[in-house]
Amino acid sequence: MTHTSPDETIWHYDGTSAMRRHPRIDWTAETFTLRWDGGTSGPHRWGDLLPVDGTGGRSIYGLRGRHGWRLGFTGAPPQDFAIHLPLPARYGRWIDRIGLWRALALFAVIAAGVVYAVLRAPTWIAPHIPLAWEQRLGDAMIGDFGGRLCETPASRAAIEKLRMSLGKDVPIRRIGIANVKMVNAVALPGGHILLFDQLVQEARSADELAGVLTHEIGHVRNRDTMTALVRQFGLSIVLGGFGGDLGNAANSLLTLSYGRDAERAADTYSIAALREADISPLPTAAFFERLGGGSDGEKMERAATIMASHPVSAERRKAFEDSARKGHRYQSALTPAEWRAIVNACKEDKDVAPASRFPF
């Protein structure tokens, strides 16, 4: 057995009173014991010693299961005693084990993976959310849209005709004309599509409107709004921003781009559906051209909203143009009377809430 003599540089608190002792330490290869005038502590096993953060060159140890028990040394502990002592923790147990720089690199790689997964996850999760949930969520979000949906018996029939010819197999629950002064159309969760009245007013023909509508039907079919919602919900959690409220969520759906891939997929659906319905894609291409600041761009001053959510590119316009069959006589999407019914829906619907510039 080895020992140190009692010494001012070695001190001990027993965890039951604040009295400071200067014990003599006796130790063997397995255990150690503290002895002072009127008391002893031990024998304790070496493995039960816990390092406490050294302060100003002092080394302090606690004892497993004995709160407040402390053994301290001014400076380093005696050499042949020290070999039994554990090393103090620094950054945290795991990080100390692999080293700071390696830990930093490892965490950075994991963090990059997590960020990637969070960004991709909505695309993986959204298709697995039951349609019934999405429908309930969509109904809760939109309700009756503040009474701002325009409808007459004739416009309802015309819209129904468009739906049957352009999106018969897509779970659309409602296509509404909203009395909002914005050039825009949106697909909302739960199979709701809103055409804003200003878009209807500025469209030159039913075929043009049909092109925009089928694009939105494409979003409904691909469940892009749900993906966007999941992404936003996820981001608000990840970023700790619990301030995300629904009005904002719905509002940002208007300006949220679903991403280039989703827009392209919706266009692909749109082109195929127009072809199926035997409606010319050229008016839609012309509409894009006007949005893109073509011949009468100034007339479309309010187009900014639809452009923010639907980036118009020459490439997209060309896709529509190229899909047109040369010399083919297309059908009209609607009869002139049906088209008028849609154009005049907001004027003729007496119950509709007054037009607003902002949808929510």
């Binding site: 965890g15 400071r20 953060d53 407040g68 965490f107």
Partner: protein, 360 residues
Amino acid sequence: MSDQTSRAFGFEGTWREFAPIAFTNLLLTIVTLGIYRFWATTRTRRYLWSRTRFIDEPLEWTGTGLELLIGFLIVLVLFGIPFLFLQFGVQAMILRGQAPLAGVLGLVAFAAIFYLAGVARMRMLRYRLSRTWWHGIRGGSNDKGWGYGWSYVWRNIVAWIPLGLLIPWSMTSLWNDRWNAMSFGPHSFRARVMPGPLFKRFLLFYLLPFILFAALVAMIFAGGEALMKAGIDPDTPPPFSTIVMTIIMVLIFYALIGLVALAYYSKFFRIAIGSMSLSTLDFHFTARAKDWLKLILGDIALVLLTLGIGIIFLSYRHWKFFVTHLDASGEISLSDLTQSATDAPGQGEGLADAFDIGAI
């Protein structure tokens, strides 16, 4: 050195020692997407406590990062997620025309947060004391804070009924409630701060906006009259000098309000801590308004000059400020200072963390 040892509390850290801790904390927090911040807080406190001397011995912080993480997760599960849904729900209800119910639920949510903010203050103090050791003895409380939450709610409401004039009363009585429930070792803290001495500064703070506003109105009137006499058309844009003057006046307005608020808070802390005792020890806090002003201006300069990086040193500066102005007189009997019999809370200050309550 003699000045330092004559005070009961002393701070013996240096920013050079703290810098490696602060910078590695920042790095690790970034690469772990913020998760390391619980361990970062723990490392910071371990350092700050270990450099804080009380009489003959440094304090010791024994809290762990895991405790803080668990506290945070409990808050997230118990309150955060239902709160998120409530927020979504309220918006949806308003959109569906159920505004009254939405209002009631919103009020319930607000009341719950108010109550929990009170509980959080108490639990934060309890957690910090229970993890603070000196001479192998710790502090704590057997009060879990549920009752304090209610008195926090009703005292704040009562304080606001006479247009906020009773705020000094609510602040002091809540301070007393909080500290009288705390103990260190076998001794209870006693806090007996009275609101009376605070009212003069509080009234200054309270009335200053009105006085400044009246002065402003008078100046505008005088200025307007002068303009009229000079025959200047009030529709012409004001000269540049007038705009600069207006900006300067607005800045002076806010600076004055800030200064008076600082004067109030410095007095509050001085008399609140000055009213406290533990067994035969009486506490004092010597920071006056000009010391607080120096601290805050120093903070601003540090953060601006380092382009924001200096933020990681603020906790160091604030703790040093607190400790160097804290003093205690009287004697403490080490043999009477036996171990605390209070329950140590299992988790960290999650609630307070969630509500972002930082200061002592």
